[in-house]
Symmetry: C2
Subunit: 508 residues, 2 copies
């Protein structure tokens, strides 16, 4: 690398780190808004968020940054190692995305994100979709405009999907979701129609919040969350946020009549948190160390929530602790009984409470609605009816109100259209990662049964977390699992597991 190239690269690093740090500031403000901010502070906060977004946009679109990227791209590629090449590639992608969108539109979106969230919380509390509808309407309009600036040759919804799941598109997702829908509907029907239905009534009862919180912290710590580099708090919708790999903030929410919902939310967010805390920090605050797509992120949360924490081995290890924490409810519950209860598959109204067989249908419903909003075939005012009809069609349940229906998710309040497919891509990746780990670690069940999660975490740290953005999603999955995305592994896993629990005979 000659002096000029080295100098350019060093300058690029300095600028990328500045942008990353301001992004960390935004992360803290976002967390603060969800967890801490007083009611009366929202208007001012929206303006502060907009100012910060404006600054980040300025920094990300600085012509000097573009000049550095161009100069480095015309240098000899062999001058750079894999990490440097990654930083350069990511910098170019981000710069191209940012420079195509005018600052005013970025600020308008940012302000709506902040305000929209507030409107959503209120609308949800008061079960008034009509209050929230204008936010969705405006967001679709702004996100279409935004997509048009980024790539006017692609469908606006594809451009939005690409933000979260780079490389994915409706062309690729449609057939995968079609397969899932075709396979899941009969499986779910067979489960519902089975003569054997596990008893999970003991999961409902009276579970003091402080005990739930203590249990959640214990298990989160056990599986590897570092509380000296993170926090756990309460918010309307559980999420994993924060400002840095050394300041990772997960949240949950509590229901006094059900401890499993909050506990598995904690484990889910811990999975996200472990990914963030496991990022490679040696090279500084640079894109090469950042997490991959939302689908890969979700694979990490679902890996822990579903593949590990809903396994019989996990239940075996923790049943005593559960029973000691909530003796009233759990003192006479056996292992098989508990395992079956927390794996009960039953169509429900709320996505985040859904089990792994019904969850993809919640996602597919949202995916279809987002497609409809973007291609104009659906109107915002019709969403409550469309939502409820689809729920009935796919899962046989109909929300009694919008709070438990179309108003349940945080995503649209922040303009995150195109995000939902990642959940089910993540579920499929999680299953494949789990199969790969199982192959390389024959003692996996024993580790889990004895509460030794260190090896599992290390495997994820090494194979996924520390890989940052060095590879594309496709490459990463191929490297770790030996195959491409494979929905059949997921379906096979579900059929085997639920076939056993529900004593099903004739699964095709």
């Amino acid at each position: 690398m000659n002096d000029q190239t080295k100098n350019n690269y060093d300058q690029l690093v300095k600028r990328l780190e500045e942008i990353s740090r301001l992004g960390g500031v935004r992360g803290i403000l976002h967390w603060d808004q969800e967890v801490i901010l007083p009611e009366g502070g929202y208007v001012a906060r929206s303006k502060q968020m907009a100012a910060l977004a404006g600054v980040i946009h300025e920094k990300s679109t600085d012509p000097e940054l573009g000049r550095l990227i161009d100069a480095l791209h015309s240098a000899d590629p062999d001058d750079f190692d894999a990490i440097q090449r990654c930083n350069l590639r990511e910098a170019k992608r981000d710069f191209d995305m940012e420079t195509k969108v005018p600052k005013e539109l970025v600020e308008e979106i940012s302000e709506l994100e902040s305000r929209g969230h507030h409107v959503w919380i209120k609308a949800r509390e008061q079960n008034r979709f009509s209050d929230f509808a204008p936010v969705i309407e405006k967001f679709v309009e702004l996100k279409k405009k935004w997509a048009d600036h980024i790539d006017s040759h692609k469908a606006p919804y594809d451009v939005n999907i690409d933000v979260y799941e780079r490389g994915a598109s409706m062309d690729q997702i449609d057939p995968v979701f079609k397969t899932l829908k075709a396979d899941l509907v009969p499986l779910i029907q067979a489960i519902q129609e089975s003569d054997y239905q596990p008893d999970d009534s003991f999961l409902n009862g009276d579970f003091p919040i402080d005990k739930q919180e203590e249990l959640g912290r214990t298990i989160s710590r056990d599986i590897g969350f570092q509380f000296d580099k993170g926090r756990m708090d309460v918010s309307v919708h559980p999420f994993c946020g924060g400002g840095h790999a050394t300041d990772v903030r997960i949240t949950t929410r509590y229901r006094r009549d059900n401890f499993a919902e909050s506990l598995y939310a904690v484990i889910h967010e811990t999975g996200h948190g472990l990914y963030e805390q496991g990022r490679r920090l040696e090279e500084g605050d640079l894109p090469s160390g950042e997490s991959m797509t939302m689908g890969i992120h979700e694979s990490q949360s679902l890996f822990w929530e579903r593949m590990i924490a809903q396994s019989k081995s996990f239940c075996s290890h923790y049943l005593n602790l559960f029973a000691a924490t909530f003796p009233e409810n759990l003192k006479n519950v056996g292992l098989d009984q508990f395992y079956e209860a927390i794996n009960v598959s039953r169509p429900s109204l709320i996505r985040v409470e859904a089990d792994e067989t019904t969850y993809p249908l919640h996602v597919i419903l949202r995916y279809e609605i987002e497609k409809g909003l973007f291609d104009g075939s659906m109107k915002v005012c019709d969403l409550p009816a469309i939502w409820n009809d689809k729920m009935e069609e796919y899962l046989g349940v109909r929300p009694p109100n919008d709070t438990e229906g179309v108003l349940q998710d945080v995503h649209w309040s922040g303009g995150a259209f195109g995000y939902f497919p990642s959940y089910s891509l993540g579920a499929m990746y999680a299953c494949q990662f789990y199969n790969a780990l199982r192959k390389s670690a024959p003692k996996l069940d024993q580790w889990i049964e004895s509460g030794n999660f260190q090896e599992i975490k290390s495997w994820l740290n090494k194979n996924i977390h520390s890989q940052g953005r060095l590879h594309s999603t496709g490459e990463l999955v191929q490297r770790v699992t030996g195959s491409a995305l494979d929905p059949n592994q997921f379906m096979e896993y579900l059929r085997k597991k639920y076939g056993a629990i529900y004593r099903l005979q004739n699964l095709n």
Copy 2:
């Protein structure tokens, strides 16, 4: 105002608001660091704070901002109303201050502020001044450099004082503090030597933290703090921060063996908080609506803490609530007994726990040390000895360790040299404001006795809070009290109050 001037002024407003909002973001990050941030996140946070400080500095020194200010200053002054003139004046002052300091120095100071705070917390926990000494050393070096950039003709310490107490200087403070010292030492001696010493033993005991917190919230709300536009949390050192007049965050700390300390800290910070919440918001996020100097800010906290909440009327109103909250300790305590106990004057080690007679001597000690550090007559390594000797000389007590001595205050960990004098200027202003209110409101005692604080808050809102920066400190005090800063009003108040409590006969 012609179109060009109007256009320039509108652009100025836009820029000032952007800077103000980014400052609000910094406020939230600062609060987060004191209250929320996980241990392992400090290094990354320092870098984030530095990046944000760099951005604010860039915005505050943008040549285009300078051009607008110059253009508006050469327009006809009669074009502007009082608020516009104030914004212009403040913008010019800030711009001049900012443009004189290189960005690198600003960032170096910001990073040290963040790191220094962390070092201080550790050093304080472990009672090791030597760990903290390099931070002070470096800060004095940086703040001298900084002062030299701002105004090389003035003494560096004066330049630092001017940040917090604009217009004040050693020339003005020295004689005032000399008078206070001369008058206070005999008063404190007389108090100590009095045959009558009130019994305050019942203020020590076992006071559950949750009850203390509830009591603090109740009284803070009673006197007017709006919890929908603010919060109350716990930090190492109580402070009032936040991001906006609609998001004001006060903190306190709790000792299980003493409820009065935490309660009066809450009331003190509530006083600051009421000032912030009472700011004029109509014109947007502009300097004209911002709070005045630290001395005026402190006058607001001390007004509530000392003048109101330590009065007999206040005790009369709340004694029943105190007794109901902590019956074990307070059930047999009468009004006079309680009033005298919370006004006990006794030299102590910790500034924030000091009573109003001894407090100024804590301030004078720090002021003398800061002067010594800046003029080179004192060395950082000698500070523990100097501190302890002065404590013995002025107050007759000697700290047994540095945690209760030179390490007790947060200020130096953030580089806030020149701040301490404001506390005592504030005490004098508080007394003058109280005298003025008393004159205009003959029913003041009745209001307080009946728990009606609304009129008091309104008077402060109208006369001080909503005045923003429209006047200089001197003008404001003159307008509200009819006289200039007058240390004798303060001494007269102390002599009268403590003369009565301690049955003193021969006060000069």
